[in-house]
Symmetry: C2
Subunit: 216 residues, 2 copies
């Protein structure tokens, strides 16, 4: 949290804070102080507040007057609800006017697979995050229905924290699963079968759901 002299734009600050929450640098319950964040990013509290309101809308934080701004603590039933919705949304990806695949898509998946194999050899949580991130936005870019794409992005960031928690317990397992997932996505793209792509996503979300356990 070193103070950087360079001013950051609102969009940059948003991405940084969002990633910190998703990567559990700010675990649920963490209190974020607007003044501290303002100092860190060399801006006043005003733009920081705007970013925090955006994060609140994304369901990642919650502001309470006189208390502080707190990273959301999701209950087990809320997490399960989010996962079940993601299952349904994934099924729609291939059905709701998907955009055509291109050679670029195939090449990018192959590149991601290379990185995932590397991850299997030496696991780094940041790299796992980055590959998942790139894969997500690649698929997001294929979704033709703008409303569906909006939802797909929304719930991705809500769910991200959950499986990162799991990734810390079983890094080799999630790395291997990621390679498998990329292989299935690759096949769907080679076969030019967007429905298969959506169902592949559905399945890997289901695997994540099956690993969920009520905590505490």
């Amino acid at each position: 949290m070193a103070k950087t002299d360079k001013r950051s734009s609102a969009e940059e600050i948003f991405s940084i804070l969002r990633d910190r929450i998703c990567l559990l640098d700010y675990p649920p319950g963490t209190v974020l102080r607007e003044a501290d964040l303002a100092t860190e990013f060399s801006v006043s509290r005003t733009p920081v507040r705007a970013v925090l309101q955006k994060l609140a809308h994304a369901g990642l934080i919650e502001s309470r007057d006189g208390v502080g701004t707190i990273v959301t603590e999701l209950s087990f039933s809320e997490i399960r609800d989010i996962y079940r919705m993601r299952l349904k949304i994934a099924e729609l990806i291939g059905q709701m006017d998907p955009l055509p695949f291109s050679a670029v898509h195939r090449e990018e998946i192959e590149a991601l697979r290379g990185r995932a194999v590397e991850l299997k050899a030496r696991f780094r949580i940041e790299m796992y995050w980055q590959i998942n991130h790139d894969l997500h936005f690649l698929i997001s870019g294929i979704i033709g229905n703008s409303a569906l794409r909006q939802m797909w992005d929304h719930f991705y960031f809500q769910a991200a924290r959950i499986w990162y928690q799991h990734a810390r317990f079983d890094p080799t397992g999630v790395a291997a699963s990621l390679v498998d997932e990329l292989d299935e996505v690759h096949r769907a793209i080679c076969e030019d079968d967007p429905v298969a792509l959506g169902y592949a996503q559905r399945n890997y979300i289901a695997y994540g759901l099956s690993r969920l356990q009520p905590r505490r």
Copy 2:
């Protein structure tokens, strides 16, 4: 837009502005001036800005630096995308752990039906809005999956403007359709069949979709 002396809370201001956009008091393209709104609600620009940011997240307005805050102009393809998503979401209402019906639900629907019949005799756009509003939140309260409910609410407010535009062209048609819809909802509740409730909603959204025409 008379200036009221009483200070309004942020939540009140949000509801009021949201309703004005949905009811087309602020048609798409309208420029909202933060200073004017601040005067109207007897607050400073700061809380007004917070509300406008929330509306921007809801997809109803768009702020552009140096220009103004403009009510969103949805393209035909965006409208169609939203409707198609609502179709799919409606189908899920009865499938994703709906909450049990109660006698209160049935009575409220019967009350709404009475108001809808009254509306058929004398159409008032505000009354049409209020009945739809009440019906929406009644159904929203039956949705057991919190993520699904969140989406149902989100797209309801995005789509509202569209059919209000249509309601101005065919008031008697939409009033009659509303009574029919309430009858179907009533039957689903009497039969204790949440799946039927979801499909009834799906169908009436589909009727709305079929009436959509590319404009201009």
